[in-house]
């Protein structure tokens, strides 16, 4: 990636100066836009929590955070991105796949601001855009490890999965999960259901109920709706395996593991690259290899299951395991 020299152009001069000033004098200012809320205990929360951790680590005088929640309407998000960029923020994180096209429009207008966008591998470099970092959590890896764990835990050989919609990150997670289960024990059956939205907690709860009645003795799922499913799992004493954020707050006794997204290293990398003059154009991933995905295991788990899962983690990290997605 070629370091971007600040263009000495007329229109952008003011912004450039402002940015330069902010850079030299003040803290790095990061803005975050997300489709749900900072307490959704999944996608948005994971990023927010990581940012906060980083802030604790660096100090509030070094890292300033601003955020906009519930930006499910893309044009609204675009307006907010533009606002953040033009009001002196150095890094604007568009934490949702749907924001990409707006970002491609906006980024060229603010060459001194870095943008980050996920889930994607597109940085826009092919179109000459140099200031977008693309990031992608390998949800399939998180799913895979949870799948291994689930296959080890189930006695009935039936696992229930409560998904929001069969697309995007959620789909990636499901695919990885199925692969993990298959690789561990081909006899285990995974029943998959979707509620059709990210927020239908009641339906997610009933889906969990249905899975349990259909014989599942281990449950998993994704999106903010899963709080409903976790409630039911708890009620029935069925173990739950979480993804994205640490879901044990919802029910510590049955959330036996969470494959969490830890964005801190990724954020550190982006900030470092920026300081080194790389404004964007890089693709970053959350993987087990780089510590971006971590699984938190509960003490209640049988040692053998944890071992198998950790082996899977290692295998994914060193590349000895590749995830084979089979058509469903």
């Amino acid at each position: 990636a070629a370091p971007v020299a600040a263009p000495a152009g007329g229109g952008q001069a003011a912004a450039t100066e402002a940015a330069a000033e902010a850079e030299s004098a003040g803290p790095i200012r990061v803005a975050l836009l997300m489709p749900s809320t900072i307490n959704d205990i999944s996608w948005s929360q994971s990023m927010y929590v990581s940012l906060k951790e980083l802030q604790d680590e660096l100090g509030a005088d070094k890292l300033e955070i601003a955020y906009s929640e519930n930006m499910f309407n893309v044009p609204d998000a675009a307006a907010a991105i533009r606002d953040y960029a033009s009001s002196g923020y150095n890094l604007v994180i568009a934490h949702g796949a749907q924001y990409g096209d707006s970002l491609m429009d906006i980024a060229p207008d603010f060459p001194d601001v870095s943008f980050a966008w996920g889930t994607t591998t597109r940085t826009g470099k092919d179109q000459g855009i140099e200031n977008i970092f693309a990031y992608e959590p390998r949800g399939d890896q998180a799913g895979y490890v949870t799948g291994v764990l689930a296959a080890k835990l189930t006695k009935s050989k039936i696992i229930g999965l409560v998904g929001p919609v069969d697309a995007g990150d959620a789909k990636l997670h499901v695919d990885g999960f199925l692969a993990g289960v298959k690789a561990t024990d081909p006899d285990v059956k995974v029943n998959v259901s979707f509620t059709g939205s990210f927020g239908d907690t009641a339906l997610a709860a009933e889906a969990a109920n249905t899975h349990i009645r259909a014989g599942a003795d281990v449950l998993t799922g994704s999106a903010q709706q899963v709080v409903g499913a976790i409630g039911v799992a708890k009620e029935n004493g069925v173990p739950w395996l979480g993804v994205q954020a640490d879901q044990s707050t919802a029910a510590p006794e049955i959330v036996l593991a969470s494959a969490i997204y830890d964005w801190t290293q990724l954020l550190r990398d982006i900030i470092a690259m920026r300081e080194a003059g790389t404004m964007g154009g890089e693709v970053l991933q959350l993987t087990y290899a780089n510590g971006g995905i971590r699984t938190i295991y509960s003490d209640a788990l049988p040692a053998e299951a944890v071992e198998a899962a950790k082996a899977a983690e290692a295998g994914l990290a060193d590349g000895s395991i590749t995830i084979v997605v089979e058509p469903r």
Partner: protein
Amino acid sequence: MFHEFLSVATLIGIANSGVRLATPYLYAALGEMFGQRSGVLNLGVEGVMLMGAFAAYYTVYIGGDPWLGVLAAIIVGALMGLLMALISVTMQAQQGISGIGLTLFGVGLSSLLLKVLVGSPIGISGFSTWKVPGLNSIPVIGPIFFEHNILVYIAYLLVPVSLYVLYRTTFGLKIRAVGQNPEAADSLGVRVNAVRYGTVMLGSAMAGIAGASLSIGLLNIFQENMTNGLGFIAVALVYFGGWRPLGVLIGALLFSTVNALQLWMQVLGVPIPSDLAVMMPYLLTIVVLAVGGQRIRQPAALTKPYERGE
């Protein structure tokens, strides 16, 4: 796959799910029915449910007994109803829009409170399943009807109670009169607006319990906007049920059983895109009403504020 689908266990499972899923609809729609029978359309059910859900959740979260949580939901629901009545009955605001306002208010406030008072959602221990001793061992019937949490049973008890209140008490008579011909009721000394305050607050209190039945009954947690449109469905079910308790019961059961059915279809791998499966209950509700060709007339004074001497 289909033989599996048609097994007795599955059918019992579907029925059991349907019975439980109908719970919040029953509370909310029966409550809304009272308001509408007296002439007030409260489109704010969604917001009231969320506030009730949060009140119950938070009460239990800070260590209260679940029953205390229900009480909190009732009080908060009734207060939301008071607000609605103030605006729609006393200030005679257009009811469709004031309800949308109330929904926004409830959605926002409950989410704000969660963020400020709790942070990210933390699980609680609400009501747990209580298998009715004796009854739950009846084959088929037992597993369908008698393996739920207590709020589910109460929801069904409210159907006969609503019938009784509506048709056998002086309050019920006033409700029916006020919703059909408020002038006539007024001329006999029935305080029209007082009755409407009563029904709207009663209805909202029930919407509050509907929320509680989710947060401390079914889910044991609160999440922003967790009702996800359920309140609007409840309003629709009042129309579906023709403003009658039994009609509402049938509507709620139909809707939630089909919902349960589609969940089972997905779980058992019936090859149908999940999005289309999720669509089923909504489609069916319309189809049933269209085919059933309803001739029921709505309460004559519905959505019409009352002012003496007009």
